[in-house]
Amino acid sequence: MMSNEQVDEISGIATTGHEWDGIKELNNPLPRWWVITFYVTIAWAAAYTIAYPAWPMLSSATKGVLGFSSRNDVKNELAAAEAAKGTYVAAIEQKSVSEIVADDALREFAVAAGGAAFKVNCVQCHGSGGQGSAGFPNLNDDDWLWGGKAEQIQQTIMHGIRFASDLDTRVSEMPAFGDIITPEQITQVSAYVASLSGAVKDASLVEPGAKVFAENCVACHGDKAQGNRELGAPNLTDAIWLYRSGETAIAAQVREPKHGIMPAWAGRLGQTAVKELTVYVHSLGGGE
């Protein structure tokens, strides 16, 4: 073919010899580096399908000689992440919660891990900032029904409150005084309790209310209404009210008390996560 090479007159470039209705195709070959690159990519693709999982078969696909698998990659990365946390997790398993709280590095780790666990397991009742709502305690404040020391918080998270299927759960129940004392007495005692932390509308109710309180309530709430953490009996003299403040709300709670239930988390989350949660809750600002 070299002998009868035709050259286009106008451009001076050889033609391919192909002709359509007098139109000839110029022979402008691709640059050699481009062609070589093209062949290299083809070879690369072929090698790639041998090295990596590629060809679909009837029920699976070729595995590739390198044994690569994206699932394995994820597994390895997760294992590496676990390993990276390993020393901290081991220390958390070993130490008591108050020891963790006292150790700066461990505490930071536990607060981060506990915060993540809190977002998954606890925010449904306690709120995303642990701020609670009516009936669900605020975990940021300094008022604790069952104690705010790290070990006490841990006990609460592990076994729950009034959680029937856990034998060690924290239990207490306030009787429904609507069946025990008269409505008038309820009004009086509510006025007395409200007076402990603020002003009341009718001051004359306070004195008889104090009498009703002394007869019925001191066993659990204490003679100064300061509460009793052994029984989960709230302090009635402070500014914090789980079931709202004010005489009406107090009367409702005296007549027919509501009782919150918190699940036991030890079985579900494991000791380590419970410890991390404990440290997180303790760090929110009210920890004792």
Partner: protein
């Protein structure tokens, strides 16, 4: 008058000569630059030594910063997000200093280009410096221009193979050394050097060396002038910054034309004869392969080697130097007008000379005052302004900083005694390589006291904490204000931190939130 009229011409043709000019999409014509010698070549050797010296030696300079910071004078510590430059240490948020330096580099380039043309391209651009270095190797092994052309055209003999292999081997060694030097800017150089040799350095170090080796070898050894002509945007941009007062490498037609290889014959025939003997020495030495006699062109990097080549020829012929010289376009135009009698006749070099053969007094020459013009003053002013601003900012910058984030969820907490508590994430930035005792104080917010998680101190309006050298310390701080003193739902107050030695302080205005009905 003319002592000599002939030198042996070079068989050289410009790669882009007007006669055979093709569009840029064309096969490369090989260039075999001849060794030049002269003032500019000497200057370029010096520039090469200085720039390569800076590049290779800088990471090995030490700078004592005490026991809490690395002692490498220039270090980009990416792992710890710190940049050290002699006495300056920059944190990531201070990266605007680098932006400022880039602005200065840009304006500086404008300034240099508008005064002395593409000096960056011709002398200091890494591409130019490394190509120069690679050419030194090529000449040392294969010989000068003619020997290399002969070798290239000749068949593949054992000798050619040995020469070519050794040339490329040395190029690769230089390329590896180039990539190797780069990584030392990012880690402690002596330690890393040992690690690299022992094979224990991080993979990224080897990858970096490999990539830079490949680019250095390809750009400096194989592609050379094509990088400037085809890949680089600077020739386009820099050309736009030239004006008629910028110095560029210029072929002075007004004394060179009409060029003649047979001047004697032409003189005998009574024709005008210029100084150019058409020896092509200027083309032969050009690393870009262009003919400067075709005028200013995109490919010309103004390396001035053609000036050296031509000056050598002029010396040999006993004529004045400067047939090719640095000249302003305005001077060139004035002299051309003189040589062509205002454009009425073709160039006649007799018009620029007196009867004795000396140059006429009417010729325009470059004067130093030509560089002082409005444009260069504006560039110089802008350059100095940015530099001064950077300097002032550097000298007055704070090395102690405070950032405060107010807890948003919950914004406030009511406590059992009715007081209101707000939580803050307080970040103390100790930006010097010394540990410092920092006193954190509350300003405003009457009656309020604060406590910090992890600091076993009773609540107070002020506490002290130690911040590690060159570190940020994050504190969780609770501020508690008694119920009776809470005013409004949002109140501003200040966190103030102070170096215990009293050297530096910083303040941050934060907000204290409270419920509408605080008890």
């Amino acid at each position: 008058m003319l002592k000599k009229t002939q030198v042996a011409p070079h068989a050289a043709e410009a790669v882009n000569s007007a006669k055979t000019r093709q569009p840029l999409y064309a096969a490369r014509k090989k260039i075999f630059p001849k060794r030049a010698s002269g003032n500019f070549r000497r200057f370029k050797w010096l520039v090469m030594a200085i720039t390569l010296g800076i590049y290779y030696l800088t990471p090995w300079l030490r700078w004592d910063r005490g026991s809490y910071a690395p002692d490498q004078a220039v270090l980009l510590d990416l792992a710890h997000r710190r940049f050290y430059f002699f006495f300056v240490e920059i944190w990531p948020q201070e990266f605007y200093y680098v932006a400022g330096l880039l602005m200065m580099a840009g304006i500086g380039l404008f300034l240099i280009t508008s005064t002395v043309g593409r000096a960056w391209c011709g002398y200091t651009c890494p591409q130019t410096v490394w190509v120069d270095l690679f050419l030194v190797v090529e000449r040392a092994i294969e010989g000068d221009r003619n020997a290399r052309m002969k070798l290239d055209a000749g068949p593949w003999t054992m000798r050619k193979l040995v020469l070519r292999v050794s040339k490329h081997a040395i190029w690769l060694v230089i390329a590896v050394a180039t990539g190797g030097a780069w990584i030392f800017y990012f880690a402690d150089a002596p330690t890393l050097a040992l690690d690299v040799v022992e094979g224990t350095a991080a993979p990224v170090a080897y990858v970096t060396i490999a990539v830079l080796m490949a680019t250095t070898y390809t750009f400096g050894g194989l592609m050379r002038e094509q990088v400037c002509t085809y890949m680089c945007p600077w020739p386009r941009i820099q050309a736009a910054m030239l004006d008629e007062n910028s110095l560029t490498v210029t072929y002075n037609d007004w004394r060179g034309e009409p060029r003649s290889r047979h001047a004697k014959k032409a003189i005998a025939a009574g024709q005008p004869v210029g100084d150019c003997v058409d020896c092509n020495a200027c083309v032969a030495v050009c690393p870009m392969g262009v003919d400067i006699r075709d005028g200013q062109q995109l490919e010309c990097i103004t390396c001035a080697l053609c000036i050296d080549a031509c000056d050598g020829i002029m010396d040999k012929l006993g004529r004045e130097r400067g047939l090719i010289s640095y000249a302003r376009l305005s001077d060139y135009n004035a002299n051309m007008a003189l040589a062509t009698a205002g454009g009425t006749v073709p160039v006649n070099p007799a018009l620029v000379r007196t009867v004795t053969g000396a140059f006429s007094d009417g010729l325009a020459h470059f004067q130093l005052r030509n560089i002082f013009r409005l444009r260069t003053f504006i560039y110089l002013g802008a350059w100095s302004a940015v530099g001064l601003a950077l300097l002032i900012s550097l000298l007055t910058r704070e090395r102690l900083e405070l950032n405060v984030l107010h807890d948003r969820n919950p914004q406030f907490v009511s406590l059992s005694d009715g007081s209101i508590r707000n939580g803050y994430t307080v970040k103390l930035l100790n930006m010097i390589p010394e540990p410092r005792a920092i006193v954190v104080t509350l300003q405003g917010l009457p009656g309020a006291e604060m406590s910090a998680v992890g600091i076993e101190l009773p609540p107070a309006r002020s506490f002290e904490t130690l911040v590690e050298p060159d570190r940020l310390k994050v504190l969780k701080v609770f501020v508690r204000q008694p119920a009776g003193q809470v005013e409004g739902t949002a109140r501003s107050f200040k966190f103030r931190i102070e170096d215990k030695a009293g050297l530096e302080s910083a303040e941050y205005t934060a907000t204290f939130n409270a419920p509408e009905t605080a008890r």
